[in-house]
């Protein structure tokens, strides 16, 4: 402000100096006459006349402080260049590539069962969707575009973005989460750094797996209230894809990659909001990647093949608790469920006020009120801007109030749903279903096909169950421990 005022005084002095020097004085009417031949100026002149007549309240005198020159040298006005949006021209190519890669990935995962093929596809996707397309728009972020268009009539989702949202989910409904293993650039960059995967304690993974639900809920809430696109804002890897970005996010991404060396795909498993939706679909996938192409012989070779712990072990021979104990616990859990929902809803309601502060209108409105209460406070940039724009304050307040009430309803709903999900997870943990074979966790499995080469049945069938084959090597290691032969291990043991 101070600088602006100083600048103002000096420049105004400058104007008068110039005018008194006669450089601009006297030119005005000559220029005006010359300009009136131009259509643009003609309407400006007309508008000026209208302004004088009082039809337009804003005086247009400020418009052209210096009338446009009448050139005598035949000078022609240059055009302002308008470069076309390069990133948008090939949007449909991206859609074609997406569908092609998804189809290929489904074929590789379910028919070919090849890790190498999926890995190659993953690297291609990392280069194409990640580094070449620079990560935007991705299906994960498209959740917000779809939400915004459903809740806000002034925004319409572009059809290509909608296709990006729907296609991976539709594929998951039929073929599992092939999107995660082969298409998603965020997944791919993490997949490359899995070097020393560790097994996390089950209690921890169940707790952490609540985060994606909360993240998805907040993302939908923020998009629906036009507050912002949080998924994109906190995307940890986008900075790498663009080879440019703000330092905190680059550090966040580096942190994820560093953790990803030990905790395989940490973002995918414990943060990705799109993974929640994919999980809903993939759980019911009609055809899904399986560990064994034939029948499981319980050879245990695939047990440690999955760095994400999504291979589920059979539990047939294990001692089981008394039925009545389980039923009683289930009863308690169902009694607890309404409490969890209410508690979640209440927490969501309490958080709705701080959450609403991320909304531009609410933030400006709150700042205005604070500044009114403390007149000595230095006005913030946002409130200063708001005052200059001349929007009625009541309109802003009404808008902010609307966002707050929506956030409140959304907070109750979101919190309640999270309570329900947590309850459902507890129920899921406490109910043991009989499982005969080694199977993948269909809801969470990324269909990366890492487990496939470990199943000996394919190798035995093809006659290459020999040293060098991953299944043979795994069997050899296990055989050494147990004092038997790899062939005996590969035969498995009766369930």
């Amino acid at each position: 402000m101070e600088h602006a005022e100083k600048l103002g005084r000096v420049l105004h002095a400058g104007i008068w100096r110039e005018r008194s020097a006669g450089i601009l004085a006297g030119e005005f009417w000559r220029r005006l006459a010359a300009r009136s031949r131009r259509p643009l100026f003609r309407w400006l002149l007309l508008a000026f006349a209208m302004g004088v007549l009082g039809l337009v309240s804003n005086a247009s005198a400020d418009e052209m402080r210096f009338p446009a020159p009448a050139f005598t040298s035949g000078y022609r006005l240059p055009d302002t260049t308008v470069p076309e949006p390069t990133s948008q021209a090939k949007q449909w190519i991206d859609v074609v590539v997406l569908v092609a890669v998804l189809s290929l990935a489904s074929w590789l995962a379910i028919q070919k069962r090849t890790r190498k093929g999926i890995f190659a596809l993953m690297v291609f996707s990392l280069l194409y969707f990640g580094f070449y397309k620079r990560g935007c728009v991705c299906p994960i972020g498209s959740i917000q575009n779809v939400t915004l268009s459903l809740f806000n009539s002034s925004y319409a989702v572009p059809i290509t973005v909608l296709i990006f949202f729907v296609t991976p989910l539709a594929f998951a409904l039929f073929f599992g989460r092939v999107f995660c293993s082969s298409v998603c650039a965020l997944g791919a960059i993490q997949d490359l750094v899995i070097l020393k995967p560790i097994t996390l304690p089950r209690k921890l993974t169940i707790g952490l797996s609540m985060i994606p639900y909360a993240y998805l809920g907040v993302a939908i809430l923020f998009a629906a209230t036009n507050t912002g696109f949080v998924i994109c804002r906190y995307d940890p890897f986008i900075g790498f894809f663009r080879l440019d970005g703000n330092a905190p996010y680059l550090y966040l991404g580096a942190g994820f990659l560093l953790a990803g060396v030990f905790i395989a795909r940490p973002y995918c498993r414990f943060f990705c909001p799109y993974g929640v939706l994919l999980g809903f679909m993939s759980r019911f996938a009609r055809w899904h990647l399986t560990i064994t192409p034939t029948e499981c012989v319980n050879c245990r070779l695939c047990e440690k093949s999955c760095p994400f712990d999504y291979v589920e072990k059979p539990n047939l021979g294990l001692a089981r608790e008394h039925r009545a104990v389980g039923v009683q616990r289930l009863g308690y859990l169902f009694c607890l469920l309404p409490g969890l929902i209410l508690l979640g809803g209440w927490v969501g309601h309490r958080l709705s006020i701080p959450m609403s502060r991320y909304n531009h209108s609410v933030m400006v409105a709150e700042n205005l009120l604070v500044e009114k209460a403390n007149p000595d406070l230095k006005p913030s940039l946002e409130t200063t801007t708001f005052r200059t724009q001349g929007t009625p304050e009541a309109k802003l307040m009404a808008e902010a109030q609307l966002v707050r009430s929506r956030m409140n309803v959304g907070g109750w709903l979101l919190g309640g749903l999270l309570g329900l999900v947590f309850g459902a997870k507890l129920v899921g943990v406490s109910v043991a279903r009989t499982q005969k074979d080694y199977e993948v966790d269909k809801a969470h499995c990324f269909s990366c096909a890492r487990c496939c080469p470990y199943c000996p049945s394919d190798a035995i069938h093809k006659g290459n169950f020999v040293p060098g084959n991953p299944a043979y090597e795994a069997a050899l290691a296990l055989a050494k421990q147990e004092g038997t032969t790899p062939e005996a291990i590969a035969k498995g043991k009766p369930a």
Binding site: A4, L11, W43, F71, L77, V157, T160, D244, R283, P293
Partner: protein
Amino acid sequence: MPAPTSKTTTLTRFDFIRQGLGRVAAFGLGVVGGLAAFAARKNNTIWQIDPMKCTQCGHCATACVLTPSAVKCVQSYPICGYCRLCFGYFQPNAPELTSAAENQLCPTGAIERKFVEDPYWEYNITEATCIGCAKCVKACEMFGNASFYLQVRHDRCVNCNDCSIARQCPSDAWVRLPASDPYLLKHKLHPKTQLNLELPPWNTPKS
């Protein structure tokens, strides 16, 4: 391959529920997709700055994910007064009206000054060096014809889904435009919009 099963195999209760839920999931996806498709637009959207709302706060230079920013100053030639003393070009206390660096307002020297005819000078923006700081825009809007204004240059913009400048814009000047018509050129804007151009109050000299 799963073992062939005869058609008469009875469905277990669990599988029945599973199948039903699967259909519910498919139906839900169809509903959401269908509803969104109903409102979807053919054209993709891109980000742009409404020059009538922009208050030249300077965030465009710093908040963009690209360095330098994809936002650049553009010159509207029909509005420009071709002043010899350009307020967007010269420092307020410029020692002399020459293109020497100490006279220039632009921190990167991205404005090119060309003599046209006496007393008119043409001012062009060199986009490769412009950082979108809007210092010239502010000065031109305060004391000149406001022919300088900021625009997102789409040969540079990567069109982030959540534009990081839009997120920080204090004046809500960022809009999503159809990609087929990606600029808000000042001289082409609706006459009404242009008439309603409101200058910041600090522009009016204090008595």
